[in-house]
Symmetry: C2
Amino acid sequence: MPSDRTSAGDPARTLALLWRDPSATPRRGPARGLTVDAVVDAAIALADREGLDAVTMRRVAQALGVVPMTLYTYVPGKAELLDLMLDAAYARMERTDSTGEPWRTRLAAVARENQALFEAHPWAVAVSTLRPSLGPGSIAKYEHELAALDGLGLRDVEMDDCLTHLLSFVQANARAAIEASAARAADGLTDQHWWDQAGPLLARVLDPDAYPLAVRVGSAAGAARGSAHDPGHAFHFGLARVLDGLAALIERAGPTGAG
Amino acid sequence: MPSDRTSAGDPARTLALLWRDPSATPRRGPARGLTVDAVVDAAIALADREGLDAVTMRRVAQALGVVPMTLYTYVPGKAELLDLMLDAAYARMERTDSTGEPWRTRLAAVARENQALFEAHPWAVAVSTLRPSLGPGSIAKYEHELAALDGLGLRDVEMDDCLTHLLSFVQANARAAIEASAARAADGLTDQHWWDQAGPLLARVLDPDAYPLAVRVGSAAGAARGSAHDPGHAFHFGLARVLDGLAALIERAGPTGAG
DNA sequence: GAGTACACAGTACATCGTACGGAGTAAGGA
DNA sequence: TCCTTACTCCGTACGATGTACTGTGTACTC
């Protein structure tokens, strides 16, 4: 499988595809039986239902009733298909209008929108690169999210820095949540079963004298996660920290439109 | 390729392997020609030199002068090999002693150690799950890093929260840096070349009236990144934000050992 | 000394992305 | 009008992956 997630192909071609540029649709030959959107939608549906691993050219083609190679007349390769999927997901994100709200409320809304994206489309965190692919979805999302940082007295570069910082937190948090639930699902082990298996060795090897903090804090954290605990705890905690961290910058910049 | 990065195998077996438990080494039969460490080291060397994609069972075996299937007498599967690689990398991290320093200095040191890990072993960000696999390397790392948060008046769970928050920032930052440089290397395009190709369409489609903030801020950010600019800018910016965010929590908790 | 548990090799299979070539179709220029 | 050309769609095929399975020979245990 030569070069999967590299997107090394002609960037102009990929951009034209992302923007559905007419130059990308042919003028001659038989009518097409499908559309790029149909391919992308089928791939997204598959990824939503069965995860990113299920998105193979064969399975997507099967869902559309065509033979695998047919997809290549719509899309240069799988990497570009993934780019298109992500941009489509971006384009369809809900964008709450929070103009007039204080900046913390606005940024919290942005964070929650992105969290919702990753909750609805867990595959998006694996595809997302944080380097926007400059499709219409990315740009619309970027524009919307920058609005939450506008009028705070930040310089342009700082606005981008702050947004990147916020989004990278949400993505890291989503990634952790997804991997945790994937690990739980992969080995169909209940926590009890897991401890029965791993406990004896762990108890022998995790010497509280050698690792006092790790054992104490680790078991406290494990107990907190394991018991009936707010599942979105890490998100709330982290978001509060991120906003506090930005506050030091924003409130120094000048409360022009801070509300 | 059934089930790659799932680590679904027997957790006890994996743990025994991580801790090099004697129960994992056999008592009968011919002497082994290799060791688990030799396999892990070969895999790490390969990953360091050619990236994680080059780490295939065949290539690792080749580097060791054995046939691919031989590796399976040392390691249950590839997923476990990756776990072992990560834990070995954790174990070998430099751990600067910063006791006595103020907490910001201590946490900054932790952040830099992790950044150095990802710089030396870029594959580690792809393997790392933020859910520690409980190997000796993970535990030693956890113990060391918790020490930077000890004596600040934080509850145990908060210590874990803060550390997770800090590490997840470093990892997200490293991921972005790696993907950026990978994208630059993948298509051997210079930035100039890229703009020649993509510029015309982009100029036509990125209407400043439709996306005023995106165009303005995006080009400012792009110019800042493109020109002679501190390459670690995002790290410094983000770290400062993270520490400011934790400060609100830590300094409220009580400056017991804040220095 | 017998039986067992193991190391190591070789072959084989399912799965992946996609290169390649052929058959048929519709638009553009003569 | 017809031929060329550009295109769609299909089928086959290739190299690569992780690893299950099946020997064959070795060294420890009783």
